[in-house]
Symmetry: D2
């Protein structure tokens, strides 16, 4: 872990049902709208410090537009850019940024996912509105909504080992846990650039998709926030895919739903778990161990292995 990258900043999610998706994220899921431009809505959880952590973009398909990580400093950003340019990964050079942050360097992972790293950002400022927080150490008004901050993104790729090299090379990420399949392949891998247990997971693509998204996740303060959310999802006719339950891997308490366009969205709670050990040895999960299901015995449902966005035949 180089510490050059500070944290996952935002995910751009594509939707072919923009209005319904926006309604879901703001009215049901509980994000706040910072602003909109022609094609995108900029959304954030109540304690995300940046202008946005989810860029919801109108498209003719679903899935992920790009994944943005914030660098630790201008110098760290330069170091990462140099490392990426020295690699064989496809780069797109610098882009201007958007309403939420300044210039960003873009590159690809070889599996169809577009990444960007940036340092200059827009701190969210509620000004003298009702969105001003009662406690000055939080980013905006507490609404009671479950998501507190963006937590992680889960991508699909054909070759997790190759994806791991990408994450280490380009972002300086470290692996905290992974799945070792009987066939010798890596079935999934959990990465972090800081002390969170993970900010990105990559699991094996079982369809013939390219650049697909498995899910985007926001963190809640308490597990109870997730139980409450389940009832809110139920009341609002949201498709609850699986959960609430506890993952064996990473021990995260989870709930997965599909937003109206079909993108999978998670609420998760890690409790007080952090990876503080500088010499943390990645935890290996074997295929027999995975077959036991989730932590408390829930069998992983079939769609969890097959559904990604955009969908594939």
């Amino acid at each position: 872990m180089t510490h050059d990258i500070a944290h996952l900043g935002h995910v751009e999610m594509l939707t072919d049902r923009f209005d319904e998706s926006l309604d879901f994220f703001t009215r049901v899921y509980g994000l706040k709208l910072s602003g909109q431009d022609a094609d995108s809505a900029y959304l954030r959880a109540w304690d995300d410090y940046e202008y946005h952590s989810l860029k919801l973009t109108r498209s003719d398909r679903t899935g992920v537009g790009h994944i943005g990580y914030r660098a630790a400093s201008p110098e760290a950003l330069e170091r990462r850019v140099a490392a990426i340019e020295a690699s064989d990964y496809k780069t797109h050079g610098w882009v201007d940024g958007d309403d939420g942050h300044g210039r960003a360097f873009r590159f690809e992972d070889g599996f169809g996912h577009l990444f960007e790293i940036y340092y200059d950002t827009c701190w969210y400022d509620p000004g003298d509105t009702a969105d001003r927080p009662a406690l000055k150490n939080t980013a905006s008004a507490y609404t009671g909504a479950p998501p507190r901050r963006i937590d992680h993104v889960n991508l699909l790729a054909d070759d997790i080992t190759a994806f791991r090299t990408f994450m280490e090379t380009c972002l300086g990420s470290r692996v905290t846990e992974y799945i070792q399949l009987d066939n010798g392949r890596i079935g999934g891998c959990w990465f972090t650039v800081n002390n969170k247990t993970y900010d990105l997971a990559c699991t094996e693509e079982h369809g013939r998709g390219q650049g697909r998204l498995h899910h985007v996740t926001y963190a809640t303060d308490q597990r109870e926030d997730i139980l409450r959310a389940a009832d809110i999802f139920l009341q609002n006719g949201v498709h609850i895919e699986t959960g609430p339950h506890k993952h064996a891997i990473q021990g995260t308490f989870f709930l997965y739903v599909w937003e109206p366009a079909g993108n999978r969205v998670e609420l998760a709670n890690a409790g007080a778990r952090l990876i503080l050990a500088p010499d943390w040895k990645p935890v290996k999960w074997t295929e027999p161990e995975r077959k036991k299901g989730q932590a408390w015995g829930l069998k992983t449902i079939e769609t969890f292995h097959t559904h990604g966005t955009p969908p594939v035949e």
Copy 2:
């Protein structure tokens, strides 16, 4: 923040009622005993990865023996030692370590607190005992006890501004929040070496003490763990000083009790709050803001300003 120091590793707490203190920490508070030598018991929460996070030492007084931070690597340790030796802070050189870790470099903060930094450590290994965790990504068996891992220590010092320089110089800590008194002095300061909101707090010494301890804190997974703990403390006749309630500063849900020898011990829950922004601007709390009490209006009780260990007249 240099990232040379990975995290707070352990605190040595002194007790003049060793047996009662040990009974409290193991039977009531919920730590596990890793081992004992002639004068000390080595304790840990169920998910502390190191052999111990609390060294409870028999003494003729209460308070803190020393505070141990783990470095991020052998090289980082050397860098920190060089920085400390280049400063004016009093050093004690290398010590051998104890049952819980290898050699450590010791130094003082100028207010009577002894610190040490180390890299070589003993990962706790439950072996094939009942303490083997059901989930391999946790350090030992889940017991249901509230403390999951050590969280932070709070010290008292006469000059917080000077203490801040010490923390920045020796540990490369950054300040996340602080109290600015009307008289121009800093009333309290919260430090971190990683993404936790703080791992050490220092507040103004209002007695005439030297090297005093305000409290040691363990983190719980959920706020509910703290509510449950309150009933357990009540049932066991433990002195509950204040809480459960929520701090305005750092937003932590807290509960403070005194262990049998009088050392203050906290259980705390920060929810999903982390300091991920690399350019986090320390949050300033003014004296009028502090007068409002805690987040939900609880007035800070008098002993919280005066009681430290060892006690002073």
Copy 3:
């Protein structure tokens, strides 16, 4: 306990800031508006089965208008009316009811509080609106708001022993807990007509008030709902008087706030506690026991002993 009275049905609360009070109860506290007539708004929690559990009435003062209990059957209602008429308590005879229920028999407690009992009621019917619940065994759509159903009302009276006779005579209530003062007087008394631990409490009037209200309370599903509510109250500038904490008496987890007109409103959670024993012996709390404060040591704040509505000089 006669079982003639089924449960506390509603409380009429008077406000001299009607619009602000209504905004508080609907937008912040989380009740739903069933309807309004010229002077009153009819409010209910999401799982109150009746049309309203709080009748908020525009007035030139604050406090309680009347307290309504629902009888177990038409016959039980007649039995109670006969018992009340056979007593010396002042009666007002039958009134027509209002939007929320049918004819009701009204009577007074001798301390200025107006009670009514009724059987015919309006079951709340969401029809085919968005308020239709996802689960047919709940009364209306789950909103995520803390209050699930009305829980109890707390009145003030000069002579609790006399008030107790009133409750036993008129409602057939039983006492579950009470405070025995050193001077021989009863300081407070908790009553129930069913298996709830209490549906009405009466505590000693320390001002020179008449017919005053101490507070009205709604029950939450979980303690976490109350912790969340505290942050919502904080964010909305609501006066939090005391809590969250746990009462020693009845063991209820509580949070008290003042609605904009000054009436005290509580959120409470009793956990799984019920009074199922038919021969429950009322629990006596002595004055020294009360001096210990609440369950976890919180000192009862002064306003809790003095503030009631309407206020007195």
Copy 4:
């Protein structure tokens, strides 16, 4: 509902692995041992007011021994006995009772389940032991264990309609919810004698069993207690059958495990839900509604329909 019966008092559970079952209930599940005689252990949750709520009896098979309900008064007991004797149900007359209660009248439901009703009982008295509660309104010392009090029992029977008549005739129970199958039969029925949402459920026997037990349940104060229990069960190698999740029927948050001998045991939390309406109309669940699974979409697992104790081929 006659109110003659106050509440479910205890269940006698048979085990052919007595020592293991007793170890499970005391060390893992969290009940307390009040005492033992030659064949039985008398167990209770920390806030059960009677000497025992679970009588665990050594046997050559598993399942339920008898189900005990406590009457509301000696007179109510006589009324019930008269009603039962006037019916066609098989009776066994009066038995002496056991360590936990006085004389009891025994009768059968026609499906092989033995019931008893009694009034004289042994209030649990911790005396001056460590089991004395810190709060005098609770029955014994708070231990932190999830079960607070016995909640309900679930039996299996071939003809739920006939079973319903039994419950109404003998206990004066009312039905709060039921399952209406497409074939016209009742698939399950939930009964209560008080304000709890149910104290006994009866679901259709799908094996060829007689007098079988589906499960016994204890109530927890909070849902979080159940999430914690799941981790404790996991750590102790207990078979977690399904959950934690929320039932659509009755809205109960649940977790089902099998104790070492195979009897199914539940932990459940109903939140603030009570049935207070005296004219509550039983909620009907159709077969298509049941096919949707539990409240948040969990499919009911196969063993839940087939496993009962004693097992059948």
